[in-house]
């Protein structure tokens, strides 16, 4: 039973309902057929009994004086004529016996000759009086004793063919089966169509949800079905889609804001980088104005100005490379990581943190340069922010041909458990953690997911956290194609 339930449970409801309808109809059909056939059998038996009584009454009254005189011919003649009169009874054989149990005449003298003693095997098939029906053999047996002045003078034994009654029952049964099968199939088909129509909104909804799981969640735009439930369902789904859309838009906005914030910090660093040489250059200019006529002073001062300008050009160049829009799909070069070192340079200085830089990446690596730079930039900024003054932040990058591995160690108190889970979890969080103050983590997580990178959080030898970013080189391309 449980197996059947499990099997049924796997079938779609559009099959289960018609199947249940069909099963129900079969049960109803069997019940109705049984009642019809029982009533038919009762009616047939009653009619047969009535007809048999009428036959025996008529025959015995007409035969009585004849049997009394043992008139063989008249007995036979009466049987012969009665067979025509009682056409409703399909007589197989009629025997009129005398008081001694010998045949006086039979309707089939060749089988039971006049004067032949009726055998026990013949007599035992007949009831004491009246009718006995044997539907198995398709025969009914009639017996009537003929009495005259309270003495038995003879008996009538008749065998009637009832196979036509069985045939009639079989025909009725066949009709019932055909009709009920037709109705069952019709109702099952109707059930199938009706349920199919009923579950169509659910199917549409399921398809949309599956599509949503694979990519974008799309609202249902086709006209809503008529049913109230379906309309509510579709309405609720569309509201859900709207809410998801709004949330994603919010997330994008937050990401943009974070980007701007990062930009602001970078701009501040850049200003600091430019401001130092700028001050020197202004001093050099003053020196030139005052002592420009001295060749050695002029030469040193111009060198100083040139180094200052070179430093400014390097800062501006790194910033340009980092933020050029068409740079997103460019392969990562060793210099990209070196640019980051230069870009974040002011931050460790500001915090009096030593940045240990190890860059073993050689040549080009087929990984999106922009994403890696964004992730590394954020990881280093976060590491600097977490490390106390005077401590060390370590950066190490290497490429082994299959993957780019970047490790950032800090000397901070270690990463909180929720932040660890947030960064290294399997599913990409749909929104920034907490109140949005740690947007950097969310940016790292999103970008890492986009390029198929794995983030592992561990404990650093420096005392703080160690974040290892592993970016598969081949996989990055596949994802790019899928995207």
């Amino acid at each position: 039973m449980n197996g059947l339930s499990a099997l049924l449970g796997r079938w779609p409801v559009s099959l289960r309902v018609p199947l249940l309808v069909a099963l129900l109809m079969v049960v109803v059909s069997v019940a109705i057929s049984e009642r019809v056939l029982t009533r038919l059998a009762e009616t047939q038996s009653r009619h047969l009994a009535q007809l048999a009584d009428a036959y025996l009454d008529g025959l015995s009254s007409s035969l009585l004086p004849i049997v009394l005189h043992r008139d063989v011919w008249e007995t036979f003649d009466k049987l012969d004529r009665a067979a025509d009169l009682y056409g409703g009874l399909q007589l197989v054989r009629v025997v009129v016996a005398d008081a001694d149990g010998a045949a006086l005449a039979s309707s089939d003298p060749r089988e039971i000759a006049t004067g032949a003693q009726l055998s026990n095997s013949f007599l035992e098939r007949f009831p004491e009086a009246g009718l006995r029906t044997d539907f198995a053999t398709g025969r009914a047996y009639l017996h009537r004793t003929m009495l005259h002045q309270q003495r038995q003078i003879g008996a009538i034994y008749a065998i009637v063919d009832t196979s036509h009654l069985m045939r009639e029952r079989r025909e009725v049964l066949t009709q019932l089966v055909i009709t009920n099968t037709g109705i069952t199939l019709l109702l099952a088909l109707f059930g199938y169509v009706a349920v199919k129509r009923m579950v169509r909104p659910l199917r549409v909804l399921a398809e949309r949800l599956q599509e949503g799981g694979r990519g974008a969640v799309v609202p249902i735009k086709e006209p809503f079905p008529r049913g109230q439930e379906a309309q509510r369902l579709f309405g609720a789904y569309n509201s859900l889609v709207d809410a998801v859309g709004e949330r994603e838009a919010l997330a994008h906005r937050l990401a943009e804001e974070e980007r701007h914030a990062s930009l602001g910090r970078l701009a501040s660093g850049m200003a600091h980088e430019i401001n130092n040489p700028l001050g020197g250059m202004f001093n050099a200019l003053d020196t030139l104005k005052r002592h420009g006529d001295k060749p050695d002073v002029r030469s040193k001062t111009i060198d100083l100005i040139e180094r200052g300008l070179l430093g400014i050009r390097q800062v501006v160049g790194a910033a340009l490379v980092n933020y050029r829009a068409d740079e997103t799909s460019r392969p990562l070069r060793r210099e990209d990581l070196e640019d980051i070192r230069f870009l974040v340079g002011p931050e460790p200085m500001r915090r009096s943190v030593v940045l240990n830089w190890t860059n073993d990446v050689a040549g080009e690596v087929d990984i999106s340069a922009a994403s890696v730079r964004q992730i590394v930039l954020n990881l280093i900024l976060n590491a600097c922010a977490a490390s106390p003054t005077g401590s060390v932040v370590a950066f190490a990058a290497r490429s082994n041909g299959a993957a780019l591995v970047v490790a950032v160690d800090d000397s901070g108190p270690g990463m909180p458990a929720d932040a660890r889970l947030y960064l290294s979890g399997e599913a990409v969080p749909e929104r920034p953690m907490g109140n949005g103050s740690r947007l950097g983590l969310w940016v790292i997580r999103r970008l890492a997911h986009e390029i198929g990178a794995l983030i592992e959080i561990g404990d650093s030898e420096l005392g703080g956290a160690r974040v290892v970013l592993t970016v598969p080189i081949a996989r990055e391309k596949e994802l790019a194609h899928v995207a």
């Binding site: 008139d71 063989v72 011919w73 004529r81 000759a113 006049t114």
Partner: protein, 302 residues
């Protein structure tokens, strides 16, 4: 007749649907009325003519044709009477309750002192016929002695062809029917003999050769199931006879004329066609000498 039908209800619709048997039972009731109020054949009354089951009296059309012909030919009202047994018919004619009767040669011989011949039918242009011994068509032998131990069907104890001839045949061999046959019964009709043998009720039967031949023409499906194994010598055909007292009365004279002239007019020929006969001729008592010898033989044997 009225008495009988009133018992079943006098509705016309029912009466028109009466079957042959009911009409015959009506005729039987008529006879019963006649016996209750003994009728005597008179010169002024209707011509009363009794018929033995020699004829195929079950055919109501034939009876009506006979009545119609005799009524037209004699100019008298005609009353036809039928009975189940020869004895009843013989009684009617011997006692003068009917003007004439178509009887068998055997009762004529028995009562020839009191009866007078009116005419004798011509079958195959002779006033003669034969008695047949018939068996089931499947039986092989043609020897009548093989019938020993049979259930045998006779027509009537007063029938020449349906009893006397076979009884005489057995008497010639020193046998009696009840000893030779395992069982015998009477069917009171030659057609019934053929039915009894064809159905297997009897294994053999004694039947009027004329009736068997007519049946072979009109009911071959019945006679085909029987086979004739012995035909007797030709014997006098059942005559139309009357009581000697009535022999010279006007009704009998008219009847004789009607019979003898039957082949001379169209209606008569039609009737003869129905009967399977060629006509009627004047009969002489010597015609029945052969039957008389058989009667003597059987009576002598006891």
């Amino acid at each position: 007749m009225r008495t009988t039908f009133s018992r079943h209800g006098p509705r016309e619709s029912e009466c028109t649907r009466l079957c042959r048997r009911q009409v015959l039972s009506g005729l039987g009731a008529l006879a019963a009325v006649g016996m209750a109020r003994p009728a005597v054949a008179t010169e002024n009354g209707p011509l009363r003519l009794a018929l033995t089951p020699v004829l195929m009296i079950s055919d109501l059309d034939l009876l009506e044709s006979l009545r119609g012909y005799f009524a037209a030919a004699t100019g008298m009202q005609v009353e036809l009477l039928t009975r189940r047994t020869y004895q009843e018919i013989t009684s009617l004619v011997v006692s003068g309750q009917v003007h004439a009767a178509w009887i068998c040669g055997y009762p004529y011989v028995k009562y020839r002192e009191r009866l007078s011949l009116i005419a004798v039918p011509l079958w195959q242009n002779e006033p003669l016929y034969q008695s047949y011994l018939v068996v089931d068509a499947e039986r092989q032998s043609n020897d009548w002695r093989m019938l020993r131990g049979d259930i045998h069907a006779f027509s009537d104890p007063d029938s020449n062809s349906g009893y006397l001839v076979t009884a005489a045949l057995l008497a010639e061999e020193g046998l009696r029917p009840e000893a030779f046959f395992a069982k015998t019964f009477f069917t009171y009709g030659h057609r019934n003999i053929v039915r009894a043998v064809a159905s297997g009720l009897a294994q053999s039967g004694s039947v009027d050769g004329y009736v068997w031949e007519v049946m072979a023409r009109v009911e071959p499906e019945l006679t085909d199931r029987t086979r004739v194994i012995r035909k007797s010598e030709p014997l006098g055909f059942p005559p139309i006879a009357c009581s000697r007292e009535l022999a010279d009365t006007e009704p009998v004279r008219r009847l004789r004329t009607a019979l003898l002239s039957m082949a001379e007019n169209a209606e008569g020929r039609d009737l003869l066609e129905l009967l399977g006969l060629d006509g009627f001729s004047v009969a002489h008592p010597d015609l029945y000498a052969g039957i008389a010898r058989k009667v003597e033989l059987v009576e002598r044997f006891g």
